[in-house]
């Protein structure tokens, strides 16, 4: 949480590109087609991502504008799911299976091809029982002013967000740069970028 309640920890972007006339209708379609979809198979272990509503991570329909567009603000969330098997638990089970196979076949070692097969079967069994790790990151976009907030400062999450944002809207989200604060002040930006003007180290440094 954060956009709607709690402390705000955000990365700010400026949005580059034209927002088309009649964007509301266009975006309903865009949001729906880039909404989060559960993988068809419970064995899916790749990362899956898409938009969800901020109210509930299971709400993936954007037909009702009143649920995500509040005048100038579009508010939605990025959901990223990934199934991850606990490595030590997996290795422990694999070891037991290998031991059982050796005993059953009266062999000292498991051939690599057999071990690979045991690994695949075990992985499928455990993936079936495992819930995905679910990450939800809220987004608030001031559409007319062309800036937005992502409620995360994780580079990985922000990278996923920017990719999906571009695919969905055809607009580029550029990370905010503090020098943008002084863009209209002549000569200030270049002066700030020059280093070495503020060495404050004492004699002990």
């Amino acid at each position: 949480m954060g956009i709607l309640k709690g402390a705000l920890t955000v990365r700010r972007y400026r949005v580059e590109g034209e927002v088309p006339d009649g964007f509301r209708d266009l975006w309903i379609e865009a949001m729906n087609s880039h909404a989060f979809r559960e993988p068809l198979s419970p064995l899916h272990k790749e990362e899956v991502m898409g938009w969800v509503q901020v109210h509930n991570l299971l709400d993936t329909q954007f037909d009702d504008l009143n649920r995500w567009l509040y005048n100038q603000y579009a508010v939605f969330a990025l959901r990223v799911d990934k199934k991850v098997l606990p490595a030590r638990y997996f290795q422990a089970h694999l070891q037991k299976r290998c031991e059982a196979w050796c005993k059953q076949n009266n062999r000292e070692r498991v051939p690599s091809a057999v071990k690979k097969e045991l690994k695949e079967v075990l992985e499928q069994e455990l993936l079936r029982q495992t819930l995905p790790r679910v990450q939800v990151t809220e987004v608030a976009w001031h559409v007319p002013d062309g800036w937005l907030l992502v409620h995360s400062q994780s580079d990985r999450v922000n990278d996923l967000f920017r990719k999906l944002f571009f695919r969905c809207f055809g607009l580029v989200a550029h990370p905010f740069d503090p020098v943008d604060f002084v863009a209209d002040l002549e000569g200030v930006g270049p002066a700030l970028l020059a280093s070495g003007a503020s060495d404050l180290r004492g004699s002990e440094a």
Binding site: I3, L4, K5, A7, L8, T9, V10, R11, R12, Y70, N71, Y73, V75, A140, H142, L149, Q153, D155, N158, D159, R162, K163, F166, V172, H174, P175, F176, D177, P178, V179, F181, V182, L185, G187, V188, G189, A191, L192, L193, S195, A197, S198, D199, L200, R201, G202, E204, A205
Partner: protein, 172 residues
């Protein structure tokens, strides 16, 4: 995506801004007058995080009430450390904020904004929260612009840096 946060902004920019904020708020009692004539109070609240020059990771953190008044904080700067994060308290009109300015991109983290609207009306909550965020962002922008003007002026090397050095030594 080919550009990442903070890319193109040398890390010394934010570090100098944080130090200037600390120094200036210590000297002016935390009162800043902005371009539009409005006034806000800003001061270092309860956290200063330092990094070694040339590194990204935090190497020392000072927390507690008014860490900026401690000899350790000044010693860290005199010893060559630079600020990476600073937690600020901000008061504008009757609204009080608390926020960490973090890293080279001056990102807002853990920002506590005043809660005005009663829970229930979601649209009102969005407008209010965004208004408060924008006000906080505007205050940070105004502080940065004041810093930028001073940093780009002739007086930076001639008078501000010596005054900051004296300030660092004063309570050593």
């Amino acid at each position: 995506m080919d550009d990442t946060v903070g890319e193109g902004v040398p890390p010394h920019v934010a570090s100098e801004f944080y130090l200037w904020l600390w120094y200036t708020s210590d000297g002016n009692g935390g009162t800043f007058t902005f371009e539009d004539g409005s006034v806000a109070q800003c001061w270092v609240e309860d956290r200063l995080a330092f990094r070694s020059a040339g590194e990204e990771k935090v190497s020392a953190v000072l927390t507690g009430e008014s860490p900026g008044t401690t000899p350790e904080a000044r010693a860290a700067v005199r010893g060559g450390k630079v600020l990476r994060d600073v937690r600020l308290a901000v008061r504008r009109s009757d609204r009080e904020y608390s926020v960490t300015l973090r890293g080279p991109a001056v990102e807002l983290a853990g920002a506590k904004v005043p809660g005005l609207v009663r829970a229930g009306d979601e649209a009102e909550t969005v407008y209010e929260r965004m208004f408060l965020y924008e006000e906080l962002h505007w205050v940070v922008a105004q502080l940065f612009r004041a810093f930028g003007r001073e940093r780009a002026s002739q007086g930076w090397r001639e008078s501000v840096v010596p005054a900051m050095r004296a300030w660092l030594e004063a309570r050593a």
